[in-house]
């Protein structure tokens, strides 16, 4: 058992070497997946991974509110001379750090997002679209609709424990707004449970 493991890890070491013949190196992703020893439970790396598959063009008019949201986004980030394009390149998901985010129409479980807004307050929302401004562009933008804040409810014991980290929101959604897909706004997916009628309890799942 020890010998086999020793040989196996020695083999992996050889495969990782750049001098290894290319024909053998191509087996490395397959083997890595089965070992899967470095997955999960990790400190997040500072990467945004582009998703290359299945992007497609969409007319900006297809999604109500998208044009206005883009206009607001350009003006808030100081790109006043940037005009709103007629088409955007939409993708089914984007991976920030190690977490995958998708629009609600693609994968509902990955669509609930918590991020820091301009005032550095954590805000919960639902992703409506993930897109780039141009096919070759590197920056991803996320169109998200916030959950409306619930009125302060002293009866909710979860608010008495702010360290628990629960955010109480109404299940109604606000207007579309655009946020950049970067690690600086601390995006994370969330657990969401319903609380009484029309209210949701949302909690951050990021590994902080």
């Amino acid at each position: 058992m020890v010998k086999t493991f020793a040989n196996a890890s020695g083999m992996k070491r050889l495969l990782s070497n750049s001098a290894c013949p290319a024909v053998l190196r191509q087996t490395l992703p397959i083997i890595n997946r089965s070992w899967a020893m470095d997955e999960g439970l990790h400190i997040e790396e500072d990467h945004v991974y582009p998703n290359i598959v299945k992007g497609y063009q969409r007319l900006i008019g297809d999604m109500p509110g998208l044009a206005d949201a883009l206009k607001r986004y350009f003006s808030s980030t100081g790109q006043h001379d940037h005009s709103v394009p007629t088409k955007v390149w939409s993708t089914p998901s984007v991976t920030i750090g190690r977490t995958k985010f998708s629009p609600v129409t693609v994968q509902q479980k990955e669509s609930r997002i918590i991020y820091l807004d301009h005032q550095q307050v954590p805000v919960a929302g639902e992703i409506q679209i993930v897109f780039k401004l141009g096919k070759g562009s590197d920056t991803y933008l996320i169109g998200v609709r916030r959950y409306l804040p619930a009125p302060l409810d002293a009866a909710n014991p979860l608010t008495a424990f702010p360290e628990f980290g629960a955010i109480v929101v109404l299940s109604a959604l606000g207007d579309l707004e655009i946020i950049p897909a970067t690690t600086s706004i601390h995006c994370s997916t969330s657990l969401a449970a319903s609380w009484k009628t029309n209210t949701l309890i949302v909690k951050n799942t990021s590994r902080i």
Binding site: T99, A155, L158, F164, T189, L191, I208
Partner: protein
């Protein structure tokens, strides 16, 4: 919704008469059947990202098997506190419930919240002296509350050891740097690695493991 019973019906079997109540384990703050159903429903309807494995939605019933460590963690991290907060907070308990019972249940909810916060602080991916102190603070509050609710209870070894985790955090860094997960994974991988045990042959490796257990029947060729 909270029922009028003080103790759930299946627990009545366990503690019938007074003397028996003293001797066996009266779980006075247990969830009733209806409350259990509420929790199960809450688990089922919670939307989770794919990376978070859900606890079994038939929790408490037969047939779901042993839970893994991360399932217990996600129960305490979100499902149980959120469900209990809807069931056992002062406002949500019905008036027909005795005041003493309602107060106990609310205290149990507080204890659950303390534990949830403490566990998150103790196993977070980044830590600091302040966080370690907060962890110890919440853990002490939790144990104090438990002892208040059950004055004659003896703490378990695990609960005592949890108080030692606090000073380890600034010493070794955040818990994910020194927990058992990577080694458990390694053992899992080793169990899958080929160890040339061949069916039908009395292999060398079988000799390795079976022979020392002399009191057990020898591995015969199958």
């Amino acid at each position: 919704m909270p029922s009028n019973e003080v103790i759930g019906s299946e627990l009545v079997d366990l503690c019938m008469d007074e003397t028996q109540q003293r001797r066996s384990r009266p779980i006075r703050d247990a969830l009733t059947k209806e409350e259990c159903r509420f929790l199960q429903n809450s688990i089922r309807t919670t939307v989770r990202p794919p990376s978070h494995r859900a606890p079994p939605s038939n929790l408490g019933d037969e047939g779901h098997g042993k839970l893994k460590a991360d399932q217990w963690r996600s129960l305490l991290e979100f499902d149980v506190p959120v469900a209990l907060a809807q069931l056992w907070s002062k406002e949500s308990q019905s008036e027909t419930v005795a005041a003493e019972v309602a107060e106990r249940k609310e205290k149990m909810l507080t204890a659950t919240m303390y534990l949830s916060i403490a566990i998150e602080l103790g196993t977070s991916f980044s830590t600091s002296r302040k966080k370690a102190e907060q962890y110890t603070e919440y853990m002490i509050k939790y144990l104090q509350l438990l002892l208040h609710l059950y004055p004659s209870m003896a703490l378990t070894a695990n609960q005592h050891t949890a108080l030692h985790v606090g000073p380890l955090l600034p010493h070794f860094g955040p818990a994910p740097g020194w927990w058992m997960f990577p080694f458990e994974r390694l053992i899992g991988a080793l169990q899958k690695v080929n160890h040339n045990y061949q069916r039908g042959q009395h292999s060398f490796f079988v000799d390795l493991l079976i022979k020392p257990t002399n009191h057990l029947p020898k591995a015969s060729s199958r």
